[in-house]
Structures are given as C-alpha cells and as structure tokens.
C-alpha cells in the first residue's frame, strides 16, 4: 500500500513533465517551421524582390526565358475567391447539420450521421481533387454552359465538402457544451424549438461556432492538392465563378519540385509560403480578438 503510494508520487511529476514537453513542442515546431521557411526565402525577400510588384502585379512568369516576373496578385485572388465561395457554401450547411444532429436527431440517427460525417473527413484530399477533375468538370460544363468545368465553382464546392465535416464536428461539440438547463428553461417559458435554438442556443454557443467556421477557413486557405486539380490551375483574376484560377498553395506544390535549390524561383516560392503564414496568422488573430470581444460583453 505504502509502496504503491510512493510510486504514485514519483510518477506524478514524470507524467507532468512529459505532458509539459508535449505542450512546448508544439510551439517549438511552429517556430522551427517559420524559421526554416523564412530562412529559405529571406535572401531574395530583402535583396532583389520588388515587394510592390510582388503584391500588385498579376504577371507570374517565374521561368520566362527573357524576362522573369514574380507577381502573385492573381494567385492571391485565386485563393481568396475559392475560399470565400467554399465558406459561403460550407458554413450554412455545416452549422445547419450541426444543429440538426445535436438538437433534432434521435440518438440512433445521430450516431449514424456522425459516423458518416467522420467518413467524409477521412477521404484523402487527392480523391476529392480527382472527383473535381473527372466528375464535376463535365457536370459544370453541362449545367452552366461554362467553357470549362475546372474553375472557382468546382474548387469551391470540393473545398466546401472537405470543410463541412470539420465545421459539423466542432459546431456540434459547441452546441453540446450548452447546458441542458438552458434548453429546459426556454422550453418551460413557452418558446418553440426554433425560438429556443435561435434565441438561446446559438448565442450561448457563439464562440465555438465561430471557431468552427474559422477552422473551416483555415482548411480552405491551406488545402492544396484538391484545389490544384479542381480549379484548373490558370494564372488570372477571376471575373466570374466560372473562370479557372490558381491558388497560392497549388503554385508551391506544382513548382517547388523542379526548382533548383536556392534559385530565385525557389526563394520566391518560399516567400509565398511566408505570405501564406502571414495570412493564416492574421485570420487566427482576428478570430481570437473576435472571440475575446464576444466574451468581454
């Protein structure tokens, strides 16, 4: 008995230390990755890169034989358009599904739905891209009389389908976290089910639902292979959702493999990496501030 207790006393600090190490390692990894990406890109960033041209020109000619130009405006527009469209589809769908699963389902149906949605999340992104390339392309051409089916719409739908499981899972957890006493109280006061959800549940779960949506946005900005295959990979600013585009991530994926290490092109691709880092950082920061703002009220 005494022995066991001593063992327990001893294992406590060890386990605590291990867990602490796990926590710190996440920070170390992020700093390490940022350091590496920054080191690879910084030489060109500070010496040769014309930052104004980089951010405001659409001319992406990294391997032109006569005049190399590195403008990423069209690529940023590509990332933004696909992400915004995907969120316009995925957020209402995902949150709707989360509300349905957490509030309207029978226990049995809920378990089935959750398993199916987990399966949706387990589909590899390259498979999604393949679906975009082979299934959605002809459908979009037929339905919209579009000249080509690989475009913002295709990428947006594929990306929406990929983010929905995340939004549903986290959204449902957020709704679950609202104590049942809230539901009981509002129903007891004579509210209908819809009034209870709209007036009580949603405001109470606001933070979690916002986090769900923002994680979806993060997925959208970071997703690579699926959008590479579904958006058509064309450098241009889209004028409608039926235009093909190219995203920042897809450009890195398609071009990094062949660029000689430390060449200008290679370094510019890493600068795009820094740009992506900064965009996600700003998104996360805004999310944090918004959540804090809500909490402060």
């Amino acid at each position: 008995m005494a022995n066991q207790r001593r063992l327990g006393n001893l294992s406590e600090p060890i386990i605590e230390g291990l867990i602490r190490l796990c926590g710190i390692s996440a920070i170390l990894f992020v700093i390490g990755i940022f350091f590496f990406v920054f080191r690879e890109g910084s030489g060109f960033l500070f010496s040769k890169l014309n930052l104004k041209e980089f951010l405001t020109s659409i001319e992406w000619y990294p391997d032109s034989p006569s005049n190399k130009r590195y403008g990423v405006l069209a690529l940023m527009a590509g990332t933004a358009s696909v992400t915004v469209l995907a969120m316009m589809i995925a957020v209402p769908f995902g949150l709707g599904a989360a509300i349905f699963i957490s509030e309207f389902c029978s226990r049995r149906a809920r378990e089935t739905f959750k398993i199916v949605i987990e399966l949706l999340a387990a589909i590899p992104s390259v498979v999604w891209g393949f679906i975009g390339l082979t299934v959605m392309n002809p459908i979009i051409i037929d339905l919209f009389k579009a000249p080509i089916g690989l475009n913002v719409l295709n990428g947006g739908i594929i990306l929406a389908l990929m983010s929905v499981p995340i939004i549903v899972s986290i959204g449902e957890d957020a709704l679950k976290a609202v104590p049942d006493s809230y539901r009981e109280a509002s129903l007891a006061l004579g509210a209908t089910r819809w009034q209870m959800i709209y007036r009580v549940l949603l405001p109470a779960a606001k933070n979690g639902l916002l986090a769900a949506a923002l994680l979806g946005v993060g997925r959208g900005i970071g997703e690579t292979i699926a959008v590479l295959m579904a958006t058509g990979h064309a450098v241009q600013i889209p004028h409608s959702i039926l235009d093909p585009v190219r995203t920042l991530t897809a450009t890195i994926a398609a071009e990094l493999g062949e660029t000689p290490v430390r060449s200008d092109h290679y370094q510019v691709l890493f600068i795009i990496g820094i740009l992506l880092f900064s965009i996600t950082f700003v998104v996360n920061l805004v999310a944090d501030l918004v959540v804090k703002g809500i909490r402060g009220k």
């Binding site: 032109s64 387990a122 051409i141 064309a234 062949e258 660029t259």
Partner: protein
C-alpha cells in the same frame, strides 16, 4: 472531443494499414527475385516518357532478372534536378540538357552528364472530338498560346464550334517543369517568347488528353503516344499554304511533321555494368520495338534524324 478522437483513431488505423501494405509489397518483391544480389537502377524524369520507361523496365526484367529498374515520372525538370543532385542512375528528359544544368551537374557530382537519344516523339495537338477544326498551322498555335498572340475565339480560326457556347478557346497547357512545355514554348512560340497567362496548366500528359476529351472548348498538346479515340488529333502545317500532316512514325521520320523532338536519357559519367547493359538493350532492336509499341517513334536505323531541330529556328 470524442469526434476528434475517433478521427484520430481512423487516420491512425489507415496509416498503419498503409504501412503494413507497403511492407507486404516490399517483402514480396524481395522474395520474388533471385537471392541477394538484386540490383536496382533508379530511373526518373519526363512525364512524356514515363509509359515508355515503364514498358522498358517491365520487358527488361525478363532479359536480366537480376536487375530491377525503378521508374518514376514528375517531369523532365524533376529528372534533371535529380541528375544534378546525383540521386538517379538514369534521368529521362524530353528536352535537351541546358548548358547551365550540364555545368551544375558537373560541379555538384564531379561527373559529366552523358546523353543518349533513345527515340522520338511527335507533339500532337488535340481538340474535342465534336470540334469541326481539322487542321492548324504553327502560326495559329503561336497566336493562340503566346503572350503577344491575339486569337481567343474559335471563330477567329474560321470554325463554328457548336459545342462551345461562348466561342472562347480554352488553352490547356502543362506545368512549367514539363519538358513538353519547354519544347512547345521554344518550337512554337519562338525563343524568348512567353505563354499568355490564364492557360489551364495540367500536371501530366494524360490529364491534358482527359481534360480535352471532356471539354468542347479546349485545345491541348502532348506526346502523340497519349492520343485516345476520345479526342481529335489535328493535322499540322508549318505555315498557311504548306501541306497539313498528321503525326505518325512515318511523318516524323521523313521530317514532314513539323513538331517532332528527340527523347533523351542522361547518365552521370560513362555508364558501367548494369546501367550500360540496360542502355545497350534500349538501343537494340528489342528495345526499339517497345518504343514503337508504346506509341513513340523508334530511332531510324541509318541515323538520319540525328539532329531534329525545333521548327521555328
């Protein structure tokens, strides 16, 4: 939280499954060959040549069962990069090694890259099979694809493309580490010219053909070995007034098809042993027969095509 745990468990299971599967495969191939000294030749590069390289590798396993040739694609640029880094035995390329790359490889590895011409490929131009267009000149192609070209509508080429509602030409191109992309730029747009932005850049020759077969507004290019019955292969003339020629083995060998190019394999330094035997076999009748069967053009016996040059020079 439970959901996340479940996802983790599923992905962990999948990862373990994939790992076991790989182990199983690796073991099988080890057991399958003759014991101990099975040698592997690393072969990487051109996407145009990947089918051919695989056909060679497969056939060679019955010639010399002690050697396994491991083929991977990725584009000529990938093969050349691997050559420069010294990580392949043979690099495939559908374009010639540039001077700078040659120097870099020598500087990095201390060995001079050695070039072997292993066959020819005619660059085929594809459109959707419902497209009424049958013929095209290199000048028209340049006007469609080049940054200073001005052809964006099918009607400008004099055809009524009924399947394409708004008449727009959708240009299908390749990603910029593709040897086919480099060859097209040099041979059709001309030296120093750029592609017009906004083309749809695919990652492989097969993807180009697949996409053209599903897109009535599209035009695309790739090696003629990738042609299928679902797309229409255009007849090509150098300029208006010249005869239009379909890509074929004959028209490549007698120079009448204007956009044909040699295919290369590169080694670092003089090849020895198994690599030497493999390259010799590729140049033998048996190896060249496979070139023909894979849809490419075998080397002529008299060496008459030694210097195929880009059309616009």
């Amino acid at each position: 939280m439970k959901n996340i745990k479940f996802t983790l468990r599923v992905s962990a299971l999948m990862a373990v499954g994939a790992f076991l599967l790989q182990m199983g495969c690796a073991k099988k191939s080890e057991d399958g060959g003759t014991p101990a000294e099975k040698v592997s030749i690393q072969n990487q590069g051109s996407d145009t040549m990947v089918n051919l390289a695989q056909a060679w590798a497969e056939a060679y396993s019955s010639v010399d069962s002690a050697v396994s040739v491991e083929v991977s694609g990725g584009g000529s640029g990938t093969g050349v990069a691997a050559l420069i880094n010294g990580t392949v035995d043979i690099a495939n390329s559908s374009r010639k090694l540039e001077e700078g790359e040659r120097a870099k490889a020598q500087q990095n590895t201390g060995k001079e890259p050695k070039e072997y011409m292993v066959g020819y490929d005619a660059l085929a131009i594809f459109v959707h099979k419902d497209n009424p267009l049958n013929e095209i000149t290199l000048e028209q192609l340049a006007a469609i694809y080049s940054a200073d070209g001005n052809v964006t509508k099918w009607s400008q080429l004099g055809v009524q493309n009924a399947g394409c509602a708004n008449d727009e030409i959708i240009r299908i191109s390749r990603q910029n580490n593709s040897g086919t992309y480099h060859y097209f730029r040099e041979a059709i747009l001309g030296k120093g010219h750029d592609f017009r932005l906004g083309s749809v850049d695919m990652n492989g020759s097969k993807d180009v053909v697949d996409l053209v077969s599903k897109t009535p507004c599209a035009i695309g290019y790739s090696g003629m070995g990738y042609a299928t019955h679902d797309v229409k292969v255009l007849h090509v003339a150098k300029k208006a007034g010249d005869p239009y020629v379909a890509p074929s083995i004959e028209s490549t060998l007698d120079h009448t098809y204007p956009i044909a190019r040699p295919l290369f394999m590169y080694t670092l330094g003089e090849p020895t042993g198994h690599v030497q035997h493999y390259l010799d076999w590729i140049h033998s009748d048996a190896g060249q027969q496979i070139v023909k069967e894979s849809g490419y053009v075998p080397l002529p016996k008299d060496g008459s095509l030694e210097h195929a040059t880009p059309a616009n020079e």
